[in-house]
């Protein structure tokens, strides 16, 4: 009895000592990384305290001076809602450009992503080297940030929404290919074999055996990507990719902070609404499968 307890005690102590040892090492490594990062990125308390009043001042000028008593007056009354959003028609149009950019990029990337995914999936009889190449191409597109692509496209096609569209399309194609290939690899192959047995070509197998099985997932991932693309389309204007982002940057650079705040409010509300709507549709799509 006594020896069993002693053995347990000894065992417990060694396990605990080992755990403490590893915990100490991990803590030291993390603290060291943290200090190094703070030093390299110049994110030190002194600078932070130095910056706080500036941030406060900025937001003081950034937030609109709305007054409750004149909130619903016309656009000439200072403090009214319309006074703050005086250029709502211009901003609305720019926002629409951004949304259109996101829609076009999503439609294009769902198609190109699916096409690439049928090649990248390893269960449809595509030669191994081709699948490998398709997957690596998707990895490359996925890793290249859309803003970096946009810089190159702005150089080639000039400032405007087309450059932004191309950038978002390529990046989204990479992301969707990976997801779609996973979906395709999980389908039931009996239907593909049935069609092939009936003499269907490879394209016919994809159209009539693969597409019906994966369509809800393809649409759902496409919508999820659309939500991301709306944010990307809003941001891509910062480097000349057109749309609402360009208006936002112009306002900030001219120090018209209230304008920037109004644009930001519009963007956040629209993204919020689109996310909400798309989430509903996605739940219905996926619910239909189960």
């Amino acid at each position: 009895m006594a020896t069993a307890t002693a053995r347990f005690e000894a065992e417990y102590q060694t396990i605990r000592a080992r755990a403490l040892f590893w915990r100490a090492i991990v803590t030291v490594v993390i603290v060291a990384l943290l200090l190094l990062s703070a030093y390299v990125s110049d994110f030190v308390p002194a600078r932070l305290i130095d910056g706080l009043p500036k941030i406060g001042l900025f937001f003081e000028n950034f937030l609109p001076g709305l007054r409750q008593d004149v909130l619903l007056e016309g656009e000439r009354t200072e403090g009214s809602f319309l006074y703050w959003f005086y250029a709502w028609d211009i901003w609305g149009l720019a926002l629409l450009t951004s949304i259109n950019m996101a829609i076009l990029a999503t439609v294009a990337s769902v198609m190109s992503g699916f096409a690439l995914a049928t090649l990248a999936a390893r269960n449809l009889g595509v030669p191994g080297w081709l699948s490998f190449l398709a997957m690596r191409l998707a990895d490359l597109l996925r890793t290249l940030p859309d803003l970096v692509l946009a810089l190159v496209f702005v150089f080639a096609f000039g400032i405007g929404p087309f450059a932004g569209l191309l950038a978002i399309w390529l990046h989204a194609t990479g992301a969707l290919t990976k997801l779609y290939a996973e979906v395709i690899e999980n389908i039931n192959l009996n239907q593909v074999e049935g069609l092939r047995g009936a003499g269907g070509s490879w394209l016919q197998c994809v159209r009539f055996a693969v597409v019906p099985q994966v369509l809800p997932n393809v649409a759902s991932y496409g919508l999820l990507r659309f939500e991301i693309n709306v944010g990307a389309a809003a941001a891509i204007g910062f480097v000349g990719g057109g749309g609402i982002g360009q208006e936002f940057v112009n306002a900030l650079q001219a120090n018209w902070l209230q304008d920037a705040a109004a644009i930001l409010a519009m963007v956040v509300v629209v993204i919020f609404l689109i996310d909400l709507l798309s989430e509903r549709v996605r739940h219905r799509l996926i619910g239909g499968v189960a």
Partner: protein
């Protein structure tokens, strides 16, 4: 009668079609509705494309310019600036690390407050979740631009932007992890006499800590990409150099920076994937 595919002749198909035409044709109102929907969608897409303001000349010129860019990118060259590039890249990594760390640190208490199982009041729960949603809906780059205007150019703006764009998303994920935690360990701790914070510390935290760490790592991976972009608008890191080389049309150096970035991201993703897998398994 069961027929093999080879035995089905056009003749048989015609006979079947004559006997049961409704199996071979879509009802007219369904096909009309489909056609109408397709027409509306196509018209909308065409209108959107027209709104891009693109002319054929610009389109073709763009592709020839793109070809020039790709030709000039080969071979990539550091142009003697590799030390600057390494410094920029390490600044990007440092920004991502400290930004993710701070955001995760803020998200732990907020996650507990946002969890239904910890703060049961539905009104508080509703407002906290909407508060998270507003921050999640703002793209990280917008925060970067805002902080550049507020605190000036440099990595400080980038780190602040990462913190503000991530803490809410992490809080929401943490709150969900806490809500999904097993209740029995909490009951065990409570039954041994501990209440409130002690129950959370010893009943909930050990369950959710690996999930929290793994999600923070996942955010770190994505933040390395975000931080690289921040430099393009002036918030510190490698993006600054990339933007500059592209403006000066030094495409060989731009390609070098992009390759450096791709390799770094690949290594970090591999490492983070290993750590995350062992965290979830342990």
């Amino acid at each position: 009668m069961i027929l093999l595919p080879a035995q089905v002749t056009p003749d048989l198909i015609a006979k079947a079609q004559a006997r049961a035409p409704q199996l071979f044709a879509v009802p007219w109102h369904v096909s009309a509705l489909r056609g109408l929907t397709a027409a509306v969608v196509v018209l909308y897409l065409l209108w959107a494309i027209a709104g891009l303001g693109l002319t054929w000349e610009r389109f073709l010129l763009g592709f020839s310019k793109l070809g020039d860019v790709l030709r000039l990118m080969v071979p990539p060259s550091d142009g003697g600036f590799w030390a600057d590039f390494v410094e920029g890249l390490s600044e990007t990594l440092a920004m991502a690390f400290i930004g993710t760390f701070a955001a995760a640190l803020i998200a732990v208490p907020l996650g507990f407050i946002g969890a239904k199982t910890v703060v049961a009041n539905p009104l508080i729960h509703f407002f906290i979740r909407r508060f998270f949603d507003v921050f999640r809906a703002t793209p990280a780059l917008i925060w970067a631009l805002i902080f550049i205007t507020a605190v000036g150019l440099g990595p400080m703006a980038g780190v602040l932007a990462l913190i503000l764009s991530d803490f809410a998303a992490l809080s929401k994920l943490y709150a969900e992890a806490i809500e999904n935690a097993d209740k029995r360990p909490v009951e065990g701790v409570v039954s041994s006499g501990a209440g409130g914070l002690l129950a959370l510390r010893f009943g909930v935290l050990p369950q959710v800590l690996p999930i929290m760490l793994s999600q923070a790592l996942y955010f770190f991976e994505s933040n390395v990409r975000s931080a690289a972009i921040f430099g393009i608008v002036g918030a510190g890191g490698i993006g600054f150099h990339l933007n500059e080389r592209i403006r000066l049309t030094q495409w060989d150096q731009a390609a070098f920076i992009i390759l450096m970035f791709l390799v770094t991201v690949f290594i970090i993703d591999q490492m983070s994937y290993r750590i995350r897998r062992s965290l979830i398994a342990g």
